[in-house]
């Protein structure tokens, strides 16, 4: 019996070692941006990203790619998030794997924070230049002061080449041609090295002699004055004078070398142009909306009135960057990320064309695993259980009209 126990103990120990060793070799890359952890209501009821386009899926070092598209600033902005009066168009990437070569909202360069208006729709573009090789998840993103980062959809982009090839050439207004990647690094290291050496020299001067025990004995016995000699004071004076002279000299030399410098540039940019959207001719009223937890499906009862002059059909429901499409009406050809695209996720009880002037109440169901994968189902745990999104209608010629929906959501657990 003891023999069996010993063997089991040995084998268990070996198994433990094998498991621990195997765990060391399992080192997956952390590449997410926490987009799924962000509260569902924030993704659904703040910034709605649509018509996104990533210009490339593979890009070489030093080459550029862009993310462009539109975003709608939701008029029913939640009370618990500060309004986007100070916002910054950003990109969600793992550090500077790209440099941001340019970013525009409504055609205006936005290197600084901007003020956005609720209920308006803006075009945007971010130009990126590849810097570090690898496969990176590239998101659009809007940082809102008091609200945090509001992340848009992400797509995997591969950068090829080696980082050593990356350069960031610029010509300054004083006529200098530089590579910003390495600019001034030599003088940064030089001046830090000089001052560090002076500091170490001061320490060495004092550390060469007995330091703690004998000096403590002397101070305790009232002989502290004997510990500082006239030579010490002269050396101290030399260090102090040397410091002041070096400060003055280095300031003067620097001003001679760089006679033109300017302060850091800062300040909020206002007056960003939004898109003048055509007057809506479709009226949508949400009668009720429920989320069926076991089925991972949201069902809405909508009363839709077509006030336009051509028949329309409902083609897409877009919320939190997840696109639910009715495959009979709309097929995505933009290369939108698969995990955010439910190509047959939208079901309308009667999606025959709404004739001009017609009003019809229909049941619309948006169902896909994305509700669970992207943790949108967590909406039912939010403090303000409402949903919101964009509905896209299409006429026979493919013309599109966008309408917002915003209503309370009732969860169904059975």
């Amino acid at each position: 019996m003891k023999l069996i126990k010993d063997k089991v103990a040995k084998l268990s120990f070996v198994a433990l070692l094998v498991t621990m060793t195997a765990a060391i070799f399992y080192t997956p890359t952390a590449s997410a941006h926490g987009e799924k952890s962000q509260a569902a209501f924030m993704r659904m009821r703040t910034i709605h990203w649509f018509d996104l386009n990533w210009s490339k899926e593979e890009v070489a070092i030093n080459d550029t790619m862009s993310i462009s598209g539109k975003f709608h600033v939701f008029s029913g902005w939640p009370e618990t998030v500060d309004k986007p009066e100070v916002s910054f168009l950003n990109v969600g990437i793992p550090g500077p794997v790209f440099i941001r070569a340019g970013s525009w909202i409504g055609g205006q360069l936005v290197p600084r924070s901007v003020s956005l208006e609720l209920g308006e729709t803006y075009t945007f573009k971010v130009l990126l230049r590849a810097r570090r090789p690898g496969e990176w998840h590239v998101h659009s993103m809007m940082n809102v002061e008091g609200g945090g980062p509001i992340i848009g959809p992400g797509k995997w982009v591969t950068i090829t080449g080696t980082m050593g090839e990356f350069t960031n050439p610029l010509t300054t207004l004083t006529g200098l041609t530089i590579d910003l990647e390495h600019w001034a690094l030599d003088s940064i290291l030089f001046w830090h090295g000089i001052w560090y050496a002076i500091g170490v020299a001061w320490l060495v001067f004092w550390a060469k002699r007995p330091m703690f025990i004998p000096r403590h004995i002397a101070v305790s016995s009232g002989k502290a004055a004997s510990l500082i000699s006239a030579t010490d004071k002269k050396v101290g004076m030399a260090f102090a004078l040397g410091t002041v002279l070096l400060l003055g000299g280095s300031m003067g030399a620097t001003n001679d070398k760089y006679p033109v410098t300017t302060p850091l540039q800062a300040g909020l940019m206002r007056g960003i142009k939004w898109i003048e959207m055509p007057a809506a001719t479709i009226d949508v009223k949400v009668e009720d909306a429920t989320y069926r937890v076991p089925g991972r499906a949201m069902q809405m009862t909508l009363t839709i009135t077509n006030n336009g002059d051509s028949p329309i059909r409902l083609g897409e429901f877009n919320t939190a960057s997840v696109r639910f499409l009715d495959a009979d009406v709309l097929e995505d050809e933009s290369g939108y990320p698969d995990d955010l695209l439910a190509e047959e996720g939208l079901t309308v009880s009667d999606n025959s064309p709404w004739a001009p002037g017609e009003t019809r109440t229909v049941s619309v169901t948006a169902s896909d695993a994305a509700w669970e994968v992207y943790r949108l189902a967590d909406l039912i745990y939010d403090p303000d259980s409402r949903f919101a999104g964009l509905l896209f209608f299409f006429d026979e010629d493919g013309n599109r009209q966008m309408t917002m929906v915003d209503a309370p959501l009732i969860p169904s657990f059975i």
Binding site: V86, L170, A184, T254
Partner: protein
């Protein structure tokens, strides 16, 4: 050997043990200060010290000296009153800068690939040398607080100007003017540090025109005097032997 006997048998041995003890204490002091001061400075100075596009002529000049004079004042109080060693400020800054450079190289560059010319630390050494030498020559904590504290604030900007000036050269980019430091902040994407978080060039010192850095430095120096006194007393209190019972001595 009983507990009442000496561990050393000659003066030479005593000197050798004393020197060994010196190096042990110095190493311990250096690493403890490196850790404590580094954490303190990162929490209070933070982004102003991390990024070139935060190193402005108003807030960086004001905030960085005020939050960085703390440990030097406390360590000076301990080393001066107990050992008459005027190295407290310098040892703090030498330790801090070593820790900061390790952090910037290993983490900022090694992990996240921010170029070092964007995330170098501020230079505090001129102020530290002046603080220690003023203490040495005056032998007075009050004089060190008033003259040294003021000097700590005043020399911060000149001590850093040779490092940051090349990054304040203007450049035109897509129809707007930037400094090279601004452009670094724009180019090298910081997902979690959006532009509006940057606290630079804010304030009401507009009547001083472009010469606002000396005004900020004077203000910083005055506050440094107060902070020096405060942290000097922290250091003095911390260096007491009251924490050890008489039986242990």
């Amino acid at each position: 050997m009983s507990a009442s006997q000496s561990a050393v048998r000659s003066r030479a041995e005593a000197v050798a043990v004393s020197r060994t003890f010196d190096w042990m204490i110095l190493f311990t002091l250096f690493t403890v200060v490196l850790g404590g001061y580094h954490i303190h400075y990162m929490l209070t100075g933070g982004d102003w010290d991390f990024w070139s596009d935060w190193k402005d002529r108003r807030l960086w000049v004001t905030v960085a000296p005020i939050v960085s004079i703390t440990f030097p004042a406390a360590v000076q109080a301990c080393l001066w009153w107990r050992y008459r060693l005027p190295v407290g400020a310098t040892i703090c800054v030498v330790a801090l800068l070593l820790g900061e450079w390790i952090n910037r190289y290993m983490n900022f560059w090694g992990w996240t690939y921010f170029p070092l010319n964007m995330c170098f630390p501020s230079n505090l050494m001129p102020g530290a040398i002046l603080l220690d030498t003023i203490l040495l020559m005056g032998g007075s904590m009050t004089l060190t607080a008033v003259v040294g504290g003021l000097a700590w604030g005043l020399v911060f900007y000149p001590g850093n100007w040779p490092v940051i000036a090349p990054l304040h050269v203007p450049v035109e980019y897509n129809g707007m003017m930037f400094t090279l430091a601004d452009l670094q902040g724009y180019h090298y994407v910081r997902t979690g540090t959006p532009e509006y978080i940057r606290m630079v060039e804010k304030g009401t010192l507009r009547t001083f025109g472009k010469d606002v850095a000396p005004v900020s430095a004077f203000f910083s120096g005055f506050v440094c005097i107060i902070i020096y006194f405060l942290w000097h007393f922290f250091g003095k209190w911390f260096a007491k032997t009251d924490f050890i019972s008489d039986e242990d001595l």
